[in-house]
Symmetry: C2
Subunit: 157 residues, 2 copies
Protein backbone atom coordinates (compact mmCIF):
# COMPACT_ATOMS: atom_id res chain seq x y z
CA UNK A 1 0.00 0.00 0.00
CA UNK A 2 3.06 2.24 0.14
CA UNK A 3 4.44 1.52 -3.31
CA UNK A 4 7.58 3.58 -3.38
CA UNK A 5 8.51 4.26 0.15
CA UNK A 6 12.20 3.97 0.94
CA UNK A 7 13.07 0.60 2.39
CA UNK A 8 15.09 0.79 5.57
CA UNK A 9 14.85 -2.53 7.31
CA UNK A 10 17.05 -5.13 8.96
CA UNK A 11 18.11 -8.24 7.07
CA UNK A 12 15.29 -10.30 8.52
CA UNK A 13 12.66 -7.68 7.81
CA UNK A 14 13.93 -7.44 4.25
CA UNK A 15 13.60 -11.22 3.84
CA UNK A 16 10.04 -11.18 5.20
CA UNK A 17 9.20 -8.27 2.96
CA UNK A 18 10.70 -9.94 -0.08
CA UNK A 19 8.70 -13.11 0.58
CA UNK A 20 5.53 -11.06 0.96
CA UNK A 21 6.19 -9.22 -2.30
CA UNK A 22 7.68 -11.99 -4.41
CA UNK A 23 6.25 -15.13 -2.82
CA UNK A 24 3.49 -17.40 -4.07
CA UNK A 25 2.03 -18.32 -0.67
CA UNK A 26 -0.70 -15.90 0.43
CA UNK A 27 0.13 -13.95 3.58
CA UNK A 28 -2.76 -11.49 3.51
CA UNK A 29 -2.35 -8.60 5.91
CA UNK A 30 -5.63 -7.95 7.68
CA UNK A 31 -3.78 -6.31 10.57
CA UNK A 32 -3.41 -2.74 9.35
CA UNK A 33 -7.14 -1.98 9.36
CA UNK A 34 -8.15 -3.92 12.46
CA UNK A 35 -9.00 -7.23 10.78
CA UNK A 36 -10.01 -5.86 7.40
CA UNK A 37 -8.44 -5.29 4.01
CA UNK A 38 -9.36 -2.60 1.53
CA UNK A 39 -11.12 -4.10 -1.48
CA UNK A 40 -11.55 -2.29 -4.78
CA UNK A 41 -14.07 -3.61 -7.31
CA UNK A 42 -13.39 -3.03 -10.99
CA UNK A 43 -15.69 -3.98 -13.85
CA UNK A 44 -13.65 -6.45 -15.89
CA UNK A 45 -15.23 -5.53 -19.21
CA UNK A 46 -15.17 -1.73 -19.11
CA UNK A 47 -12.27 -1.31 -16.69
CA UNK A 48 -14.38 1.12 -14.70
CA UNK A 49 -13.60 1.28 -10.98
CA UNK A 50 -16.93 0.60 -9.30
CA UNK A 51 -16.51 0.97 -5.57
CA UNK A 52 -14.20 0.72 -2.58
CA UNK A 53 -15.16 -1.38 0.44
CA UNK A 54 -13.65 -3.63 3.09
CA UNK A 55 -13.25 -7.38 3.34
CA UNK A 56 -12.81 -9.54 6.41
CA UNK A 57 -11.31 -13.04 6.18
CA UNK A 58 -14.85 -14.49 6.31
CA UNK A 59 -16.19 -12.19 3.59
CA UNK A 60 -13.24 -13.11 1.38
CA UNK A 61 -13.93 -16.79 2.03
CA UNK A 62 -17.62 -16.33 1.16
CA UNK A 63 -16.62 -14.52 -2.04
CA UNK A 64 -14.31 -17.33 -3.08
CA UNK A 65 -16.81 -20.06 -2.21
CA UNK A 66 -19.78 -18.51 -4.00
CA UNK A 67 -18.10 -16.55 -6.80
CA UNK A 68 -20.09 -13.46 -5.76
CA UNK A 69 -18.56 -10.49 -3.97
CA UNK A 70 -19.17 -10.30 -0.23
CA UNK A 71 -17.85 -7.37 1.77
CA UNK A 72 -17.69 -6.40 5.40
CA UNK A 73 -19.80 -3.54 6.73
CA UNK A 74 -18.06 -1.66 9.51
CA UNK A 75 -21.20 0.30 10.37
CA UNK A 76 -23.38 -2.80 10.67
CA UNK A 77 -20.55 -5.08 11.84
CA UNK A 78 -21.43 -7.92 9.51
CA UNK A 79 -20.74 -9.51 6.15
CA UNK A 80 -22.97 -8.37 3.31
CA UNK A 81 -23.46 -9.94 -0.05
CA UNK A 82 -23.25 -7.20 -2.64
CA UNK A 83 -26.61 -6.90 -4.42
CA UNK A 84 -28.39 -9.45 -2.25
CA UNK A 85 -31.55 -7.35 -2.08
CA UNK A 86 -31.20 -5.33 -5.29
CA UNK A 87 -30.01 -8.11 -7.58
CA UNK A 88 -26.99 -5.99 -8.49
CA UNK A 89 -24.59 -8.84 -7.86
CA UNK A 90 -20.92 -8.92 -8.71
CA UNK A 91 -19.62 -12.11 -10.32
CA UNK A 92 -15.97 -12.27 -9.41
CA UNK A 93 -13.64 -13.17 -12.25
CA UNK A 94 -10.30 -12.58 -10.53
CA UNK A 95 -9.04 -11.54 -7.12
CA UNK A 96 -5.74 -9.68 -7.29
CA UNK A 97 -3.44 -8.93 -4.36
CA UNK A 98 -1.10 -5.96 -4.11
CA UNK A 99 2.63 -5.95 -3.38
CA UNK A 100 2.42 -5.80 0.40
CA UNK A 101 -0.77 -7.90 0.53
CA UNK A 102 -2.92 -5.39 2.35
CA UNK A 103 -5.30 -4.53 -0.50
CA UNK A 104 -7.43 -6.59 -2.89
CA UNK A 105 -8.66 -5.82 -6.38
CA UNK A 106 -11.76 -7.72 -7.45
CA UNK A 107 -12.22 -7.88 -11.18
CA UNK A 108 -15.94 -8.48 -11.52
CA UNK A 109 -18.84 -8.67 -13.91
CA UNK A 110 -21.24 -6.12 -12.52
CA UNK A 111 -24.91 -7.07 -12.81
CA UNK A 112 -27.00 -3.90 -13.10
CA UNK A 113 -25.31 -1.04 -11.30
CA UNK A 114 -22.76 -0.98 -8.47
CA UNK A 115 -24.02 2.11 -6.67
CA UNK A 116 -27.23 2.31 -4.64
CA UNK A 117 -27.78 5.74 -6.26
CA UNK A 118 -28.34 3.86 -9.52
CA UNK A 119 -25.07 4.87 -11.13
CA UNK A 120 -22.93 2.14 -12.64
CA UNK A 121 -19.98 3.23 -10.49
CA UNK A 122 -19.93 4.94 -7.10
CA UNK A 123 -17.37 7.38 -8.54
CA UNK A 124 -19.87 9.55 -10.42
CA UNK A 125 -18.54 12.98 -9.40
CA UNK A 126 -15.32 14.82 -10.15
CA UNK A 127 -13.65 17.15 -7.66
CA UNK A 128 -12.84 20.44 -9.37
CA UNK A 129 -12.09 24.06 -8.64
CA UNK A 130 -14.57 26.49 -10.13
CA UNK A 131 -12.48 28.83 -12.26
CA UNK A 132 -14.60 31.90 -11.61
CA UNK A 133 -15.19 31.64 -7.88
CA UNK A 134 -12.12 29.57 -6.98
CA UNK A 135 -14.37 27.34 -4.90
CA UNK A 136 -14.22 23.57 -4.81
CA UNK A 137 -17.13 21.78 -6.37
CA UNK A 138 -18.30 18.34 -7.38
CA UNK A 139 -19.24 17.92 -11.02
CA UNK A 140 -21.42 15.00 -12.06
CA UNK A 141 -19.98 12.75 -14.74
CA UNK A 142 -22.63 9.99 -14.74
CA UNK A 143 -26.41 9.97 -14.44
CA UNK A 144 -28.53 7.39 -12.61
CA UNK A 145 -29.51 4.41 -14.73
CA UNK A 146 -33.06 3.33 -14.19
CA UNK A 147 -33.71 -0.35 -14.19
CA UNK A 148 -36.09 -1.15 -17.06
CA UNK A 149 -37.38 -4.15 -15.09
CA UNK A 150 -38.31 -1.90 -12.18
CA UNK A 151 -39.31 1.22 -14.08
CA UNK A 152 -38.42 3.42 -11.14
CA UNK A 153 -35.65 4.42 -8.79
CA UNK A 154 -35.03 1.91 -6.05
CA UNK A 155 -33.10 3.61 -3.28
CA UNK A 156 -30.80 1.69 -0.99
CA UNK A 157 -31.61 -1.59 -2.69
CA UNK B 1 -18.17 2.96 0.73
CA UNK B 2 -21.19 0.79 1.52
CA UNK B 3 -22.89 0.96 -1.84
CA UNK B 4 -26.02 -1.07 -1.28
CA UNK B 5 -26.59 -1.20 2.39
CA UNK B 6 -30.17 -0.78 3.51
CA UNK B 7 -30.93 2.78 4.50
CA UNK B 8 -32.61 3.08 7.87
CA UNK B 9 -32.23 6.62 9.03
CA UNK B 10 -34.28 9.48 10.45
CA UNK B 11 -35.52 12.28 8.20
CA UNK B 12 -32.60 14.52 9.05
CA UNK B 13 -30.03 11.79 8.50
CA UNK B 14 -31.63 11.03 5.16
CA UNK B 15 -31.37 14.70 4.16
CA UNK B 16 -27.69 14.85 5.15
CA UNK B 17 -27.07 11.63 3.30
CA UNK B 18 -28.87 12.85 0.21
CA UNK B 19 -26.84 16.07 0.18
CA UNK B 20 -23.63 14.08 0.53
CA UNK B 21 -24.61 11.77 -2.32
CA UNK B 22 -26.32 14.21 -4.67
CA UNK B 23 -24.76 17.55 -3.73
CA UNK B 24 -22.16 19.57 -5.58
CA UNK B 25 -20.37 20.98 -2.54
CA UNK B 26 -17.53 18.73 -1.37
CA UNK B 27 -18.01 17.29 2.11
CA UNK B 28 -15.12 14.82 2.12
CA UNK B 29 -15.26 12.33 4.97
CA UNK B 30 -11.81 11.94 6.49
CA UNK B 31 -13.35 10.77 9.76
CA UNK B 32 -13.82 7.06 9.12
CA UNK B 33 -10.09 6.29 8.88
CA UNK B 34 -8.79 8.67 11.53
CA UNK B 35 -8.14 11.66 9.29
CA UNK B 36 -7.47 9.77 6.06
CA UNK B 37 -9.38 8.73 2.98
CA UNK B 38 -8.70 5.69 0.85
CA UNK B 39 -7.26 6.70 -2.51
CA UNK B 40 -7.15 4.41 -5.53
CA UNK B 41 -4.92 5.31 -8.46
CA UNK B 42 -5.95 4.18 -11.93
CA UNK B 43 -3.96 4.67 -15.11
CA UNK B 44 -6.21 6.81 -17.29
CA UNK B 45 -4.97 5.39 -20.58
CA UNK B 46 -5.01 1.65 -19.89
CA UNK B 47 -7.63 1.62 -17.15
CA UNK B 48 -5.31 -0.50 -15.04
CA UNK B 49 -5.71 -0.09 -11.28
CA UNK B 50 -2.23 0.82 -10.08
CA UNK B 51 -2.28 1.02 -6.30
CA UNK B 52 -4.28 1.76 -3.17
CA UNK B 53 -3.03 4.27 -0.62
CA UNK B 54 -4.28 6.91 1.80
CA UNK B 55 -4.68 10.65 1.51
CA UNK B 56 -4.83 13.26 4.25
CA UNK B 57 -6.36 16.70 3.64
CA UNK B 58 -2.84 18.11 3.20
CA UNK B 59 -1.76 15.42 0.73
CA UNK B 60 -4.93 16.02 -1.27
CA UNK B 61 -4.21 19.76 -1.27
CA UNK B 62 -0.62 19.13 -2.43
CA UNK B 63 -1.94 16.88 -5.19
CA UNK B 64 -4.35 19.51 -6.43
CA UNK B 65 -1.80 22.32 -6.23
CA UNK B 66 0.98 20.50 -8.06
CA UNK B 67 -0.95 18.14 -10.33
CA UNK B 68 1.16 15.23 -9.05
CA UNK B 69 -0.16 12.58 -6.68
CA UNK B 70 0.82 12.97 -3.03
CA UNK B 71 -0.27 10.37 -0.50
CA UNK B 72 -0.04 9.96 3.24
CA UNK B 73 2.22 7.33 4.76
CA UNK B 74 0.78 5.90 7.96
CA UNK B 75 4.03 4.07 8.79
CA UNK B 76 6.18 7.17 8.36
CA UNK B 77 3.46 9.60 9.47
CA UNK B 78 4.09 12.06 6.67
CA UNK B 79 3.05 13.14 3.19
CA UNK B 80 4.98 11.56 0.35
CA UNK B 81 5.12 12.60 -3.26
CA UNK B 82 4.68 9.50 -5.35
CA UNK B 83 7.84 8.91 -7.41
CA UNK B 84 9.79 11.76 -5.85
CA UNK B 85 13.00 9.72 -5.70
CA UNK B 86 12.34 7.23 -8.50
CA UNK B 87 10.88 9.64 -11.05
CA UNK B 88 7.80 7.40 -11.30
CA UNK B 89 5.46 10.33 -10.87
CA UNK B 90 1.71 10.29 -11.34
CA UNK B 91 0.24 13.22 -13.28
CA UNK B 92 -3.30 13.54 -12.03
CA UNK B 93 -5.91 14.02 -14.74
CA UNK B 94 -9.06 13.72 -12.62
CA UNK B 95 -9.96 13.22 -8.98
CA UNK B 96 -13.25 11.38 -8.52
CA UNK B 97 -15.24 11.09 -5.30
CA UNK B 98 -17.52 8.23 -4.35
CA UNK B 99 -21.15 8.34 -3.26
CA UNK B 100 -20.54 8.77 0.45
CA UNK B 101 -17.39 10.84 -0.06
CA UNK B 102 -15.04 8.61 1.90
CA UNK B 103 -12.95 7.32 -1.02
CA UNK B 104 -11.10 8.98 -3.89
CA UNK B 105 -10.22 7.68 -7.33
CA UNK B 106 -7.26 9.37 -8.98
CA UNK B 107 -7.17 8.96 -12.73
CA UNK B 108 -3.51 9.47 -13.53
CA UNK B 109 -0.89 9.28 -16.20
CA UNK B 110 1.67 6.95 -14.68
CA UNK B 111 5.27 7.82 -15.50
CA UNK B 112 7.36 4.62 -15.52
CA UNK B 113 5.88 2.08 -13.13
CA UNK B 114 3.64 2.47 -10.08
CA UNK B 115 5.09 -0.32 -7.97
CA UNK B 116 8.49 -0.26 -6.27
CA UNK B 117 8.90 -3.88 -7.39
CA UNK B 118 9.12 -2.52 -10.96
CA UNK B 119 5.71 -3.75 -12.05
CA UNK B 120 3.41 -1.25 -13.73
CA UNK B 121 0.69 -1.99 -11.15
CA UNK B 122 1.00 -3.16 -7.55
CA UNK B 123 -1.67 -5.78 -8.34
CA UNK B 124 0.63 -8.21 -10.12
CA UNK B 125 -0.55 -11.44 -8.45
CA UNK B 126 -3.82 -13.34 -8.57
CA UNK B 127 -5.22 -15.26 -5.61
CA UNK B 128 -6.16 -18.76 -6.71
CA UNK B 129 -6.81 -22.23 -5.37
CA UNK B 130 -4.47 -24.88 -6.72
CA UNK B 131 -6.74 -27.50 -8.24
CA UNK B 132 -4.54 -30.45 -7.35
CA UNK B 133 -3.58 -29.63 -3.78
CA UNK B 134 -6.55 -27.43 -2.90
CA UNK B 135 -4.12 -24.93 -1.43
CA UNK B 136 -4.31 -21.19 -1.89
CA UNK B 137 -1.58 -19.67 -3.99
CA UNK B 138 -0.54 -16.43 -5.63
CA UNK B 139 0.02 -16.58 -9.36
CA UNK B 140 2.06 -13.87 -11.05
CA UNK B 141 0.35 -12.03 -13.89
CA UNK B 142 2.95 -9.34 -14.56
CA UNK B 143 6.74 -9.29 -14.67
CA UNK B 144 9.01 -6.49 -13.50
CA UNK B 145 9.76 -3.88 -16.12
CA UNK B 146 13.35 -2.82 -16.13
CA UNK B 147 14.03 0.78 -16.80
CA UNK B 148 16.17 1.01 -19.94
CA UNK B 149 17.67 4.25 -18.61
CA UNK B 150 18.81 2.47 -15.45
CA UNK B 151 19.57 -0.95 -16.85
CA UNK B 152 18.96 -2.59 -13.52
CA UNK B 153 16.41 -3.09 -10.79
CA UNK B 154 16.10 -0.12 -8.48
CA UNK B 155 14.48 -1.29 -5.27
CA UNK B 156 12.44 1.02 -3.11
CA UNK B 157 13.03 3.93 -5.42
Amino acid sequence: MMPDEPVQSSGEDAAVRREREEGTTPDLDFGKLGGLMTAVAQDARSGEVLMVAFMSPASLAATRETGFAHYYSRSRDCIWKKGESSGNLQSVEEILVDCDQDALLLRVRQHGVACHTERFSCFYRRLETDEESGREQLVFRAAPQHDPKQGSHKPGA
